[in-house]
């Protein structure tokens, strides 16, 4: 099961490497003064990434320089805590922490500070996994919890690094913030159209920009029945429904005017919907509950995007809230089910 989940994430990782490198190199091409002597730039240059050529290898190399160090630190921190937790519990190490570290890394911006990675992964492993008894016994996705805690504790994490802020006239973390500010015009000014958004050539956290890569992973997970098609379908249908409602009833500027397809293509909705929300342990475990939770996630994503501009992407808080209420949703579904059983005459 773990192998399949990692395999499903492979296209996402490839897209993350390519797009992170592209964003980095494109930013340097626009403003060469941004090249500093920081660790990641050193690796990128050492690997021969060239912003003038901007070929596939250059993107990979520059992406590698940003992605792999974060992943390595996340794995080290995850493995460290897993070791300590399992030792104290006298259990054997469960390899699931690798998946946690990978998901966590994919949800981090390319220039995440080390302290953020260490802090977030520690919370993911301890609060998200360890205290509940390890793999399969939690009620939240550990990676989601880690990222959420980083976002709350360091509100500026996504724009700490000059590369991810101040570019092209916007300061937000990703393309959604761009739309907030300038609508469709701002998107086309930043060279974002439906195609580039679909393949993931947009600014954002490392692994979440490419809807194409996410879709490939989702197909594998759906075929192997590792995730619930109901939960996924409910999220996507719900996104279109609620976005359209806001388009009709809401204001004419900002996210309430954002068409539903941009909601899906920009930001980390697609990634979150497939890899975080559909975590079988952290979502509703009844079929009606899955539909309800999916619609709830979609409604929260759209609502937070519209109402709260400090969380332009909104996916992390929405998933966190929906995950927390999942047991409540199940409880209501079961209460209804028990009520029906009590009405029988035998």
């Amino acid at each position: 099961m773990l192998q399949l989940q990692l395999l499903a994430l492979l296209p996402v990782v490839i897209a993350a490497l390519v797009n992170t490198g592209y964003q980095y190199l494109a930013a340097i091409a626009r403003n060469p003064a941004l090249v500093t002597d920081d660790f990641r730039s050193q690796i990128a240059l050492g690997l021969g990434a060239n912003h003038e050529r901007l070929g596939l290898y250059d993107m990979f190399a520059a992406g590698f320089a940003h992605f792999v160090p974060v992943l390595l630190v996340a794995l080290l921190v995850g493995g460290f805590w897993e070791r300590i937790i399992t030792e104290r519990r006298q259990a054997s190490i469960e390899p699931g922490f690798v998946l946690v570290a990978l998901l966590f890394t994919l949800l981090m911006p390319g220039a995440a500070a080390w302290v953020h990675v260490v802090f977030g992964m520690s919370f993911a492993m301890l609060l998200g996994r360890g205290i509940f008894g390890g793999e399969g016994k939690t009620f939240l996705s550990p990676a989601l919890l880690g990222v959420a805690i980083v976002q709350v504790s360091f509100p500026g994490v996504a724009d700490q690094h000059p590369l991810w802020s101040g570019l092209a006239g916007y300061a937000g973390s990703d393309a959604i913030a761009l739309f907030h500010r300038g609508g469709d015009a701002a998107l086309s000014a930043a060279d974002i159209n439906l195609w580039t958004a679909f393949i993931g050539r947009t600014p954002g956290t490392m692994g979440t920009t490419s809807v194409l890569a996410v879709a490939l992973g989702a197909v594998l997970l759906l075929i192997e029945r590792l995730i619930s098609w109901r939960l996924l379908a409910a999220q996507i249908i719900g996104l279109f429904v609620f976005a359209t409602i806001f388009n009709i009833l809401g204001a004419d500027t900002g996210a309430s005017a954002m068409p539903a397809y941009w909601h899906l293509l920009l930001g980390s909705f697609a990634f979150g919907a497939v890899f975080i929300a559909c975590d079988p342990v952290a979502s509703a475990c009844t079929n009606p509950g899955r539909w309800i939770q999916g619609f709830l996630i979609a409604a929260l994503v759209v609502l937070i995007r519209v109402a709260n501009t400090t969380h332009p992407d909104a996916v992390i808080p929405a998933l966190l809230l929906a995950s927390i209420v999942a047991p409540l949703i199940d409880h209501a579904v079961l209460a209804w089910n028990i009520r029906g059983r009590a009405r029988r005459h035998v």
Partner: protein, 398 residues
């Protein structure tokens, strides 16, 4: 006689204690006694009217007991005389005399209740009676040809079962198998289709007379037991055959066989298996259970033996990852009766929370209904055993 079916004889057969849940057996015979077919050999201590009769004639070879003197098996060395202890036909068509006939002839022990899967009390009133006249499990024998061969026996037994109580009797059959019962106020024939579960009594009961918290019960009986009851009614002696199928990839020649009830399985499998250490399932690949050392004989309602070579199936399968944790999965919902949410039920069973399991529908289930969950769940819990524990608790406070 069944045409085209090979009959396989054995020299030893048994009545199994595990087929009759909750019964304390009082022996009416001793080791070494000669018994006739249909002669009472045991009865229930708590309900002495309920008798258990010898399935075959011969000498009582051993009475095997386990922990706390619980009966494991009463084994009979079969002789060829097949001397019969004939039964008097029922005195009348009223419920009381029909019940007396079934109790005296041992046929009563073929009925099962839901909830719990017990033999019903002799004076209990069911809310409905179900005759299971289809079998949708993979590689199972086809009931249609068997029922058609014994149509007379089957029909007379169904009429008797309908007269046992005022409750409706449902004959559940496959869509392409017309049984010819007029739908009357008493007897209703209902067809079931769709998947391996379509032949489970639990599914039929769930669809037609679902169990709630009212404290009532329904009865069900399988088609081969119905034929046996009909045989007793028409001929005064029990049916000396059961039809089982022998299948799986370690079986040389998979086919249906006519065998004695309670046959010793190792004798049945002589010259049939192509493997030294096969995996034997009592029942089908979906609802069957792994053969335990104690299950050396055909159980009362068993219709299949499935034998795999040691490399097939779960042995090399998916059970390895993280034992203990229950990972919810959409496929689980399709593996249990409609209207029951499997994951919360599985959690309640794991915790042994009988009250919660009752609320979530445990009373609608017996072991066979949760076998697929045990196979599909990565936690390697035995939900059949957990369910039985919970049902025992629920029954004791009832």
């Amino acid at each position: 006689m069944l045409s085209g079916l090979e009959t396989k004889y054995v020299t030893r057969a048994a009545l199994l204690g595990s087929d009759y849940r909750g019964v304390n057996f009082e022996m009416l015979c001793e080791v070494g006694d000669e018994v006739k077919v249909g002669a009472a050999v045991m009865r229930d201590v708590r309900r002495p009217q309920i008798k258990f009769t010898a399935p075959l004639s011969g000498r009582v070879a051993s009475i095997e007991r386990g922990k706390r003197r619980k009966l494991i098996s009463l084994q009979i060395d079969v002789d060829d005389s097949m001397a019969v202890a004939s039964q008097q036909p029922p005195a009348g068509n009223d419920g009381v005399s029909l019940r007396n006939f079934m109790l005296e002839s041992g046929a009563w022990s073929m009925l099962r209740t839901r909830p719990f899967g017990n033999i019903p009390d002799p004076d209990a009133e069911p809310a409905a009676v179900f005759v299971t006249a289809l079998d949708a499990e993979p590689l199972a024998p086809e009931p249609r040809s068997i029922i058609e061969t014994y149509q007379q026996e089957f029909n007379s037994a169904v009429n008797v079962l309908a007269d046992l109580s005022d409750a409706p009797l449902y004959v559940c059959h496959a869509p392409n198998h017309v049984l010819g019962f007029e739908n009357s106020s008493k007897i209703r024939s209902v067809s079931f289709a769709g998947g391996y579960a379509a032949g489970l009594p639990g599914v039929h009961i769930n669809a037609l007379c679902p169990i709630g918290f009212g404290g009532g019960e329904v009865w069900h009986i399988g088609y081969q037991d119905v034929i046996s009851l009909g045989h007793l009614l028409l001929h005064g002696e029990p049916w000396l055959q059961r039809v089982i199928s022998l299948g799986g990839n370690a079986v040389r020649n998979p086919r249906d066989l006519a065998v004695y009830p309670g046959s010793k399985i190792s004798e049945l499998l002589v010259n049939e298996i192509s493997e030294v250490a096969p995996r034997t399932l009592m029942g089908s690949t979906i609802y069957g259970r792994e053969s335990a050392p104690g299950s050396a004989f055909l159980s009362a309602r068993q219709r299949q033996i499935t034998v795999f070579d040691s490399t097939t199936g779960e042995a090399a399968g998916t059970k390895a990852s993280s034992p203990g944790a229950l990972i919810p999965n959409e496929t689980l919902e399709s593996l249990i009766l409609p209207g029951i949410y499997p994951v919360p039920l599985m959690r309640a069973l794991q915790l042994g929370d009988a009250e919660r399991a009752r609320e979530l529908g445990a009373l609608e289930l017996v072991e066979e209904d949760v076998m697929p969950l045990s196979r599909a769940c990565v936690s390697s819990s035995d939900y059949a055993m957990l369910l039985r524990d919970v049902l025992d608790q629920l029954e004791s406070v009832r």
